[in-house]
Structure formats: structure tokens, C-alpha cells
Symmetry: C2
Subunit: 444 residues, 2 copies
């Protein structure tokens, strides 16, 4: 038996010592021997950079590493990589550009930054012969970037479906199981520390959209136009629809969808009904999951914690080890699906994809209501798959008419809904949710 | 923007052109441009080796590559790697040893071979400075070897739970949903080509045991004693227990379990009840899944097709690409958890782990029955968690007494069961199944 190859060494600085940064620093320092034993890599933490070190102190991180500015880090010639866990967009963008210019590799978990400026940052890294690691950016601890760029490298990817926001998934799970309103479920999520005081980036779908933009760029070799991705959130979801969907055999999830068609890739983010039989329907509470469909492998699904200090640190540190071992740089340098290497984007226009839909129309219980609605749908060539209307309860002015459609475009449906909203016999706005059926596998 | 790094090239020969070998060859040849575009690697197939080429011909594979012996392959100095997809144990063992001696890297999907002779083969590869890729050996298309050895490299692995045999999982799904007997469900699996005429390796747990032995070696850095893994199959499972379990909130699965305790790793394979809430309970039909619990990442789960030509080819080809890119060799050379590098195994003795259990005792409806059973259990310090006995139906001689226990060792329970079986008031053998609760996450 030959001895193990000589150990590899890497010297890193962490910028940002919050939840993820603090957990990463703690594991890098406390579990140094474990990491060396498993990976053959010795990691040296050179500095922890932040404005405040209250959290770092509470974790017992060594004070001698605390550093209140990035200049000493960028000026340290022995530093191999900067780990950016500061959050925000403009500060980390400048930091990363400067780190690359100073010859440092970069690791980041910053999905907003990569969704908005990924190609620019990747191109700069390449000019410098450096690597950006971002395993932690899309699904916390789930190694999904490696799945797309390495494990499933033999596949043409057909589709990616993700539950990518743990806060939203927790809120929806509460609404489904307890029949809670959105407001009550959000309050519960805030109480247990899963939702922030301002939860908008989570519940309005922005965070999910950042993540699907990054994954799509790698899965399909496109440069997504982030502003062109239609995004809706769960914050105006009515528990009535959650429960009606459940009766119809569906589970509501905040889904990110990217689906390759011959003409281009369709992408959208929003609450949607998926069949109770679909594996994504099982993903409950704060967990995340990504379904990836490849032309050879068929359906694969990757599940785990999409946020939180320790789980995200697991992904950040896998990038540190990947850098030291040379794995991440090899993938970054040689493979062909990076957004800075792709030509023109082939993203389909919003709403042009054929989907099935759920509609809830609040209508008066009068003759001609169904005729009016169905005439409008027929004019847009929208075929009704099922229609449910219960008898009027005492004192109820408007009764819900629930329709599921066969496939049609969102564009056509939006036109029909506009007309239905304008009818005198309907009240409130029509509620509209896509229905996502099991994606067909193409394996032979 | 810099141009893409120079393309890498690799020249491979395939030995074995059956289901997996044929699919692998077809994708390597037909999708050569796709693979080059995604990976930057140009793969050249030098030869397809088999005794019969009927299947290869039916796939339209090029006749000029057909080769009926391995000698020309081993003698080809320009060949980089041999892909062993022949099956069996002795032939591939010799083939792989000779390929390594001839300076060729090796890729194999052969779980039996690696479970029985992995350390010897890995050590030989290392002596030669070569690599063995085996992503396809444990879970078909699911990139679970990469998850353990790369994506989750920052973690101390606490436990691995797997549904690793698609044939068995299909049979169990039929039994659960349709109440079929084992025999009927097996016949159905054979009818649709999922089960072989002799299904013993699948349904008796041997295949699953091979796979958990390989994964455990990497997850825990041990050299499992394969013969020391307790293995039972689904072939004597009674539909009565499947349905009773369902009523109790459990789903029966053929599980592989490897669980790190302070004293060592407990491993076993067999049918077990898992809670309907556990993500592994969702895995239906021929799909496989592996739950991995890491000290930082918590619970992760990897799901997909664990068998079949195209899905397994996806994993085989990821190893071809990984070899050409240098990823697989780096992991193989530098990381520290390989069975040929591990010292003494720390595998716990069979049956020494504390688990919960389900018992079904067929007993006469007489005074003293429950007293006799509960006295025996009490003597072994086995605490009863629940007990179910329905009123006797007309004409029924023996009635089922269903007991679930608190945690106890299998060794203690086996002693109790032996005594219960010997009672005059009980008929048939006691049925005994482990109950697997959700594994606790250790993340902070």
C-alpha cells in the first residue's frame, strides 16, 4: 500500500461572520482534523472579516483572526481564496472583483449576486485563471451544483424543478396541514426564526428566481435574462385554494421551473399545484429539493436543507476542499456550459409555455354564469378538464366555480381571465395557479 | 473572454455489451458531440468486447468495434481505460487486475466484485498510480458516490439509509398499494421485465448488501466484513404484515442501514417498517434513494433510477469524463476514506444495535396468552410500546397479536422470540420486523 499522497494546503479568509459565515468558520477551525482526515486537505483560516464580531464572539471564534476591513486580506500574498458570505450585491460584487484582480480564488453563497452578475464575474475569474466556487448558492447543503456540473455531466438536461426556499415551503406546509391562513403561517415561521421580519425576498419568489437562474445557466448553457423570468410569490395565496387543491389531489408548492423546449428554455417561479404522487410533493417544512431530468438518467431528485448555518457551511467547505484538490478549478476551466461562455440566450418569452391551470372564479348563482365563462374560455381555445361548483350556502353572495384546464398558454389564459374579471356576474379577481404534472422521462 | 481550455481526450474499451454496456456504448458513440460540448472531453471508443454481439447489433453499434477477446484491448498502448460491465465476480476480478497491470484505469458498475474484493483492487490501482471509478455500482444513475466523496466531503457521516434495489421496491410497492401477495407481485415484476427469472440476488437482499458495504466503506472509512452484515430479504414477507404495518402508519421497505455509533458502525439489510412521514417512505416503484446524514449538512437524500441501461450508463460515463478531466483520480488519490487505506474495521457485531421492532405472534385465544408473552419480553428487558389484538373471527384458530417494542437489541429479541415460538399456545413462527424511526440530525 502506498502512503497517501502529500497533503494539500489552502489558506482562506472569510468575509461576513453571520449565520453562514460563523458556522463555516466554526467548522473550518473546530473540525480541522476531521477535514484533513477525510479530504487530505489542511485548511488554514487567515482572517475573519466583518464590521461587528458579536456573533463570532458568541461562537467562540478566535479573536486574533478578527479583521475589520478587507484590505489586509487582499494584500496578503499567501492567501489562496476569499470566501464571500457578506450578503448584499454591490459590496460583494466589488469585493469579488478586487479579490480576483488580486489573484485570489473566490467562494460565494450569494445567489442574488450570481443571478444578476454571474457572467461578468465568471469571465473575470477566467481572465485571471481563477475559479469561483458557488455550491452553496442554490440549495444550501444539497450538492446540486456538483450534480449538474459533474454527476450528471453525461446528460442533456431536459428540465429542472425546484423547491428552493425553505421559509416559503415551511409556510405552505403549515397552510396545507393546519389550514392556516398565510398571515398566521408567516407569523409562526417568524416565531421560530425561519422567516425574517421583512420576508419579502423569500415569500415573493425573488430568492427562488435567483437560484433557478443560476441552475438554468449551468443545466442548459444559457445566459438567463433575470428580468425576463416571470415571478410570483405565496404572499397573496388564499387558504381556500390550498384546501381546494388538496381535495383535487394536489399540493401547493412555491416552484421554480426551467424546462427545455425545442425553441428555447421556459422559466418561471410561482406557487403551483403538483400532484400528490410527485416526489416534490413530499418535501415538507424548511427542506428544499431539486428534480433534474436528464436524457440518460431520467428523473433524479436531490433533497436536503436549503438554508441555515451548518448545512450551508457544508457546501461552502466542499468548495474550499474542491479548490485545494483542484476539482472545482477543473470543472470551471474545462466544461462548456458556463454563462460567460454561452452565446445568445434562448429563453422563451414569459407565458408562452403550454401548461395546465387551476382557476377559481367567484360568481353569482344566476343563470348564464357558466355559459359566459365557458364561452370566454372557448374563444381562447382553452379546454376545460374539470369543473366544480357546489350548491350555494345560506347567506353566500358569491360561490366559487373551480375549473382545471387542459394545456394552454398563460398568455391565452390571462386574456380570458381579464374578460372573466370584467363580467358583471363575477366578484373579486379570478385566482389562477399552474398545475405541474409529472415531467415525462425520455430514457430509452 | 478566454477560449475554452484545450479539449481533453480519452480512449476507452468496453467489456460487456448487455443492458448497461450496450446503453453506455450507444450514448458514448451517438452523443459524442453532446458530451464534448458539455464536458470539453472527446471520448473515443476503441473496442466493444463480448462473447455475443446480438444485443450490440440490435442497438446498431458499429461492427468494426466488436472484439471477442480482451487480449487486443490489454495490449493496446493508446488505451486509457477499461470499462468493465461484464458482471460476475471471477472474470471481472482477473480482467481488472490485468487492466491495472497493463496501466489502464478501470471503470466498473460491479457491486458484488467491489463489496468482496474492493480493498485488494483499490490497493493495486494505487500501486500503479491508477484510478478505479465506480459511480454506477451503488445506485445506478444517482450520483451518490460523488455525494459521499465530494459534495458532502466536509461532513462526518452519521448514517446512511438506502433503498437500493429497484426490483424489490417495485414488488413492495405493489404489495402495499394493491395488497398483492409476494408471489403475485414478483410475477408482475417479471412480466414487465423488472425481475429476472431467478430473482434471488435482488429479493433476498444480497444486491442491497453489496451496495451498502461499498457506501459504508467510503462514508465511515471502514473495511466492512461483508459476511458479517446481517441480511434478510423480502421473499418471505407476508402481505398481512405489509397491511398491518400500513394501518399502524408504517411503510415496508427493503432497507440498507449503516449507522455510526461511538463503538463502531452497525450495518444490516432487510425489510423494515419506516414511518409514512420519512422521506424514504415516498420512494415508489423501481426508484432508489439514499438518505445520508452528515454532522454539518443534516439530512440529505438522493433519489433516482437505481438500475436500467440508460440511467446506469449516465453514471458510468460520468466516470469516463471524470477520469479524462482528472477529477476522479484526484479524489481517489487524495481523500482519506478508502477501504484499502483504513485500518481495522470497527463494525459492530450483528444484532447489537438498539432498534424498535414489530412482532406478530399467532396465538390461541385463551387465558394466559398475553401474560406468557409479556413475561418473556419483560425477562429480556424488552418494553412494549403498543399491543393490538382484535376479537377472534369465526372459525379462526389462531389470532394475530401485534406488538411494537421500545428500543432493544435484536439479540435480546431473538432470545425472546425463540421462547415465544416454543410456547404451546402459539402457532407458526413469530414475524419480526425492525421499525426505523427518523434519524436525528445533529446540526447545531
Amino acid at each position: 500500500m502506498r502512503p497517501m499522497s502529500a497533503r494539500k494546503r489552502i489558506r482562506v479568509a472569510l468575509v461576513g461572520c453571520g449565520t453562514v459565515g460563523g458556522a463555516t468558520a466554526r467548522i473550518l477551525i473546530q473540525d480541522k482534523e476531521l477535514l484533513l482526515r477525510r479530504s487530505g486537505v489542511e485548511i488554514e483560516v487567515a482572517a475573519l472579516v466583518d464590521k461587528s464580531f458579536d456573533h463570532a464572539r458568541s461562537l467562540g471564534l478566535p479573536e486574533e483572526l478578527f479583521c475589520s476591513g478587507i484590505e489586509p486580506v487582499l494584500a496578503d500574498p499567501s492567501l489562496d481564496a476569499v470566501i464571500e458570505l457578506a450578503g448584499g450585491v454591490e459590496f460583494p460584487r466589488t469585493l469579488i472583483m478586487r479579490a480576483l484582480d488580486a489573484g485570489k480564488h473566490v467562494i460565494t453563497a450569494n445567489k442574488a449576486l450570481l443571478a444578476l452578475h454571474g457572467p461578468e464575474l465568471f469571465a473575470r475569474a477566467r481572465q485571471q485563471g481563477l475559479t469561483i466556487g458557488f455550491e452553496a448558492s442554490c440549495a444550501g447543503g444539497i450538492p446540486v451544483i456538483r450534480a449538474i456540473t459533474d454527476g450528471l455531466l453525461a446528460n442533456e438536461i431536459d428540465a429542472v424543478y425546484g423547491i428552493l426556499n425553505g421559509t416559503s415551503n415551511y409556510i405552505l406546509t403549515e397552510m396545507i396541514h393546519k389550514g392556516s391562513s398565510y398571515a398566521d403561517a408567516l407569523e409562526q415561521a417568524q416565531k421560530i426564526g425561519l422567516a425574517e421580519a421583512d420576508p419579502s425576498l423569500d415569500v415573493q419568489g425573488g430568492d427562488t428566481a435567483h437560484k433557478i437562474a443560476i441552475m438554468s445557466s449551468l443545466a442548459f448553457g444559457i445566459s438567463p435574462d433575470f428580468a425576463g423570468i416571470p415571478v410570483s410569490g405565496i404572499d397573496d395565496l388564499d387558504e381556500q385554494d390550498v384546501l381546494t387543491g388538496r381535495d383535487l389531489g394536489y399540493v401547493v408548492k412555491l416552484l421554480a421551473v426551467a424546462h427545455r423546449h425545442p425553441q428555447g428554455v421556459a422559466m418561471w417561479v410561482g406557487p403551483a399545484f403538483i400532484s400528490r404522487e410527485h416526489p416534490l410533493a413530499w418535501v415538507e417544512g424548511p427542506f428544499n429539493a431539486v428534480s433534474i431530468y436528464g436524457h440518460a438518467v431520467g428523473h433524479t431528485l436531490f433533497y436536503g436543507r436549503g438554508a441555515g448555518g451548518d448545512p450551508t457551511a457544508s457546501a461552502v467547505i466542499s468548495d474550499v476542499l474542491g479548490l485545494a484538490l483542484g476539482i472545482t478549478p477543473t470543472i470551471f476551466a474545462h466544461t462548456g456550459f458556463w454563462p460567460d461562455r454561452n452565446g445568445g440566450a434562448t429563453q422563451l418569452p414569459a407565458g408562452s409555455e403550454e401548461l395546465r391551470f387551476y382557476l377559481r372564479i367567484m360568481a353569482e348563482d344566476k343563470p348564464g354564469v357558466l355559459a359566459a365563462i365557458s364561452t370566454i374560455l372557448a374563444r381562447e381555445q382553452i379546454s376545460i378538464a374539470s369543473l366544480h361548483q357546489n350548491e350555494q350556502a345560506r347567506g353566500q353572495e358569491l360561490i366559487p366555480v373551480v375549473i382545471t384546464t387542459h394545456t394552454c398558454t398563460r398568455q391565452a389564459l390571462d386574456r380570458a381571465v381579464q374578460e372573466i374579471n370584467a363580467l358583471e356576474i363575477t366578484g373579486k379577481e379570478v385566482v389562477l395557479l399552474p398545475i405541474v404534472d409529472e415531467h415525462p422521462e425520455k430514457i430509452s
